[in-house]
Amino acid sequence: MARPAILPTRREFLKSASVAASAAAALSFPAPAVAQRPKLVYWCYQFLKASDEARADFAREWAKKNNVDLQLTMVPWKEFMPKITAAIEAKATPDVVESGGVELRGRGQLLDVTDIYKKAEKAYGGWVGPSSKIMLEPDGRVHTILYGLQGFMLIARDDLLAQAGLKPPPATWVDLLAYAKKAQQPPKTFGIGQAVSNQTDSQVWEDIMKSYGARLADDAGKRVVLGDYKPQTWEFLDYFTEVWKAGVLPPGVATWDNTMNNSTYQSGKAVFVFNPVTISLWLEANNPELLAKTGHYIYPRGPKGLIQPLTYASRSILKYTKVPEVAKQFLWDSMEPGKMDREMSVAQWGPVLNAYLGFDVWKKKPFMKSLIDMSLKGEPQGYPDVFNDAWREQSTNTTVSRMLQRIVVDNWSRDKAFAETLDVLTKVYAKYA
């Protein structure tokens, strides 16, 4: 059958087009059946295994008890913002999240939960330390519920300090440097395992700078005033330069990420580090002998006083939720003291409600005691600057640490570095004014 077949028949064209069409059809997804039970999408904060598992397990049990269809996702804190960004843009948001409370609040993404705040305050003896300050907005409303306080504390090798004839804790930053110089034995051990990099662990330097009396913006958090604090900044820079030149910082701190101070301390190579209690929890599981030699203290003081910044863990509900009552119930049940007792014994948080102060864990684990100390004496992150969008942006961009890097990595003069820092801060704050 010699039918000239150089030219396509109708059949052939349809065949090739149908290939395209069926490929597209195969990729489309049938609409899900309408759920009988309410569905709760919960993004669980992932940071420390035991703590994460405790929260996840509670959520699963709660869902079973309350006949809720739970979709649980573990989200590491570092990946949270890209994920929630994409989810909001695509209008496919979760119901409950455990990160980004203040950021999302500032963008009006959260559901009002003032009722839960007030209920907890009444039922559980009031909020601890700066918790209320962190949660309450100027108009008295609350959009995120704290469930734990955390902060960087001073973690120290008490044994090495004792060997050097020193009695911890160092009271001031200057004392810290002196202790570090005396107790270290490089290259086996370095005095202070502290990052001076573009990662947020480097923010300790901003806290130190503030304890020397400097601040970035005014009380309203709108106008940059650092330029008025040049003498205090210079005093701080004197201190920093001394630290840098003393050789107490291990090599590589200029590109340390947030894990390096942990691993440096955990492998016994640092005398002092600043970190949340996650190091101690790791040591508890992996190296109890080292934990036994470790002391936990709050920050040393600066010339102008103590700046002990606190961060927090909180739960929020996205305002787009289709199950607000279920979500609120979940938040409320999550605050129940019995449940919190079990959780906090494996977690890294300090107590947010007075009802939690009586837990055993504070007594059983010595390192938890400093958590309480910190929770009571601490201030919200950024203090005395206002914790707002502008401060947060300059903080995640490690502005102060970059100034320090300009001086010691790029050999800029102080004036040049300071001018650039002022410029950057002004530009950032101007965006949010």
Binding site: M1, A2, R3, A5, I6, L7, P8, T9, E12, K15, S16, V19, A23, L27, S28, F29, A31, P32, W43, Q46, F47, L48, K49, D52, Q71, L72, T73, M74, V75, P76, W77, E79, P82, K83, T85, A86, A87, E89, A90, K91, A92, D201, N258, T259, N261, N262, S263, Q266, S267, G268, N275, T278, W282, N286
Partner: protein
């Protein structure tokens, strides 16, 4: 013709140098996976003092990495299959048909790679969710096509061009349809090119990071690179487990390349001469 000794020595010396260059980091990866934590963090040693499989066991049992490997395999295989089919059709269309505009697509298809994923992933995610594919492996299978198809199409274009069209025309005279000629003549002759496309596509899909990070949320959908990055949870590195996971993540690809390397070379060969 016999090579002079000096040339042979040079060649083998260079070969040894290159092999060493590739081997050292791989050696480091494998030995780290086999070292105890003490060897890793406290007392440095080049080789494991007491080789242990504990990291591998942990990573398979506690982290359930095999599920993620299965996810990656599913995504990579499907992406590859669809890519090869779509690219073969497209290349055939551009090279063997005549219609307006085909030259332009052929010329500019590679321009896709000017656009980084960091710029495109937010709108891509919106599309994926609009199609109801949020947190599914299908979302990856679809979006990965955007970077596998252009390159494979280009490569197959070159490959098809190197095969004389007379063979298909001869068959069509004998009663075969044009598409029939594609399946009966051109594709079998292009086997090396098709295998090469498949391997490239598989590699790109297997290794992709950013889209998988945003599109997948849990263990049922996470691919291996994402799972590995999740293992760097919080502020703790677990090098032993990470490297064990890295070894497991690299094995399927390594095997694939050892088996298919010949085809990749052949596949690129014809495509690269004229193009």
């Amino acid at each position: 013709m016999r090579e002079p000794l000096s040339i042979r020595v040079t060649i083998y010396a260079l070969l040894a140098l290159f092999v060493l260059m590739v081997a050292v980091p791989l050696f480091w990866m494998v030995t780290t996976a086999l070292k105890t934590n003490k060897d890793l963090y406290e007392d440095f040693s080049y080789l494991p003092t007491r080789p242990t499989l504990e990291h591998f066991v942990r990573v398979i049992q506690r982290e359930d990495l095999l599920t993620n490997i299965r996810n990656s395999l599913a995504v990579a295989s499907t992406t590859t299959a669809v890519t090869v089919v779509v690219s073969a059709f497209a290349a055939f269309s551009i090279v063997r048909y005549k219609y307006r505009g085909r030259e332009w697509i052929g010329r500019f298809i590679l321009f896709k790679y000017l656009l980084p994923t960091a710029m495109l992933f937010v709108p891509l995610y919106a599309i994926v969710v609009a199609m109801g594919l949020g947190n599914t492996l299908k979302s990856l299978m679809l979006t990965y096509l955007s970077f596998t198809v252009p390159f494979c199409t280009w490569m197959l274009m070159g490959y098809f061009r190197s095969i004389p069209p007379e063979l298909e025309e001869h068959a069509m005279v004998d009663g075969c349809t044009k598409i029939g000629a594609l399946f009966r003549i051109l594709l079998p002759l292009s086997a090396p090119g098709l295998v090469a496309s498949a391997i490239f596509s598989f590699t790109l899909a297997w290794n992709e990071f950013l889209l998988a990070l945003v599109f997948t949320s849990d263990q049922t959908t996470m691919t291996v690179p994402i799972k590995l990055s999740m293992m760097v949870a919080g502020d703790q590195y677990i090098w032993g487990q990470l490297m064990a996971g890295a070894v497991l993540a690299s094995l399927p690809i390594a095997i694939l390349y050892f088996l298919g390397q010949r085809f990749v070379v052949q596949g690129l060969a014809a495509g690269s001469v004229k193009g």
